[in-house]
């Protein structure tokens, strides 16, 4: 009989990290996925771990701790996942944006994070190909980059040394419960795996897994397209993005950019990052289109248009490919890292939106602490699944 201490559902970045941390702690773990490792969002994303795109507070704290954990993992894991800390640069188009950026930096700096304002001249010293008419920006030293699917492979390889069993191409069809309502087994299309604990790391598909135990997990897929450049000269040396990116991520920031219809309608904000291979990834875009990950012509044009505004040198550089992924979005932009009161033994680690890569190590650690009944690194009351129950009661 297949029996494990914990079954982790979803072999994306979160599931791989959770499975690694649990295995290392000594639990017997099965990692189940309907496809291969990193076959969903974690191979259709960009590849950065940032603090500069987080809101002050627990969001930034977890992001920062996660980067420190990645630095350790890059040394510990035997598999190279192309980690490097290059820093990141926000660029502001207007003085008004610069002022909002300044307030944001002051708040983050007061909390002890190393972010600093740069003026229009320093901006060009750091990235000489940028447009000459920008107002200034923010430089964040700690921000880091890696290869997202190689991180998944690295976690799995390492976890296998501690006994992890990988069930790839196993689609979860049902979850059996005991008479007392606690979890008993995960039924896939090929086998049944017995367990007392299940962690739902299915990301954008977490809601479908939730339905199998009768709970409603309010995660929605939020699409994002990426354009890949040919291998070319170093047009940027780090992640560079417009401060307006924050505005596309968080709906509650009251500022609107002077942009074209296609950029506005598709919620496009300039971002570019170098890859280890020498290509550049360009984005970014956010929209709700269900589970559709086709490449949209208009969005490709919008991303290119916005990129040319900030980095005119791209004009003669080729776009060789585009792809789209879907982020697990939740309304309050904080992941769910939680037990589920009504289903004993069922846990959720999902809903990281665009921060899955960024927050995977800290999520894996805290989920292991939760399952072990140890105190978590951070107070994760705000990450509890029950927060949604409360809000729906108020409504």
């Amino acid at each position: 009989m297949n029996s494990f201490d914990v079954v982790v559902i979803g072999a994306g970045i979160i599931g791989c990290s959770v499975a690694y941390h649990l295995s290392k702690t000594g639990y017997t773990v099965a990692l189940v996925d309907k496809g291969d490792v990193a076959s969903g969002t974690s191979s259709r994303c960009d590849a950065v771990a940032l603090i500069c795109d987080k809101k002050p507070g627990i969001d930034t704290e977890m992001g920062f701790t996660s980067i420190q954990l990645y630095k350790k993992l890059a040394k510990e894991l035997s598999f190279d996942f192309e980690f490097s800390s290059r820093g990141s640069l926000y660029v502001c188009e207007t003085d008004q944006e610069l002022e909002i950026a300044n307030n944001y930096v002051n708040e983050q700096a007061a909390a002890g994070y190393d972010m600093k304002m740069v003026d229009e001249k320093e901006l060009l010293d750091i990235e000489p190909y940028l447009a000459k008419d920008l107002a200034g920006g923010i430089w964040t030293e700690v921000d880091s980059t890696m290869n997202p699917y190689l991180v998944c492979f690295a976690f799995v390889e390492e976890a296998k040394k501690y006994g992890l069993k990988l069930y790839s191409n196993h689609e979860v069809k049902a979850i059996k419960k005991r008479p007392d309502g606690s979890v008993e087994a995960v039924v896939t299309d090929k086998t049944t795996i017995h367990t007392k604990k299940i962690v739902n790391c299915a990301g954008v598909w977490a809601g479908k897994i939730g339905q199998l135990v009768g709970i409603d997990i309010p995660i929605k897929p939020r699409k994002g397209m990426v354009l890949v450049s040919e291998k070319t000269k170093p047009v940027v040396s780090q992640k560079v993005h417009e401060f307006g990116y924050m505005l596309s991520k968080f709906e509650d920031i009251n500022y609107s950019r002077n942009v074209s219809k296609v950029v506005e309608e598709n919620n496009i904000a300039f971002t570019i990052e170098p890859t280890e291979a020498g290509n550049f990834l360009l984005g970014g875009h956010r929209s709700f289109k269900g589970y559709d990950i086709t490449s949209e012509n208009r969005v490709m044009r919008g991303i290119a248009e916005r990129a040319l505004r900030f980095l005119p040198v791209l004009k003669d550089i080729a776009c060789i490919r585009s792809y789209a992924g879907i982020r697990p979005w939740v309304v309050d932009h904080l992941p769910i890292v939680s037990d589920v009161e009504e289903v004993p033994g069922f846990y959720i680690a999902s809903g990281h939106e665009g921060d899955g890569i960024s927050m995977a190590p800290i999520t894996g650690r805290m989920m292991t602490q939760l399952i072990s009944n140890h105190e978590t690194d951070f107070n994760i009351d705000r990450l509890k699944f029950s927060r949604y129950k409360k809000s729906s009661q108020i409504i």
């Binding site: 291969d36 076959s39 040919e230 044009r301 990129a307 040319l308 490919r321 585009s322």
Partner: protein
Amino acid sequence: MVVKSDDNKIICRCEEVSLGTIKDIVHHFHCSSREVKLRTRAGMGYCGGRICRTIIEKVVQDINNEKVSNESQLSYRPPIRPVTFGQLGGSENDDES
């Protein structure tokens, strides 16, 4: 070590991935063509895998003893041919809307 001459053949010309590298990865990880792509970059270069894709799939299927299927694991993505960002997003683009 004696290297078989075939193994030195370049399968993915854009990323310069040899047959030997692809075979090693499949033997070691027992993986799909998609995973071969992610682990070696074969098929991720300038041509978008349009030249080497079918060969990679054949090699993977031969080693894994799978039936050759018509359905590809390796996807084609737009644009069909490389296009400059200037053409894609510049003012000269013939936006239909």
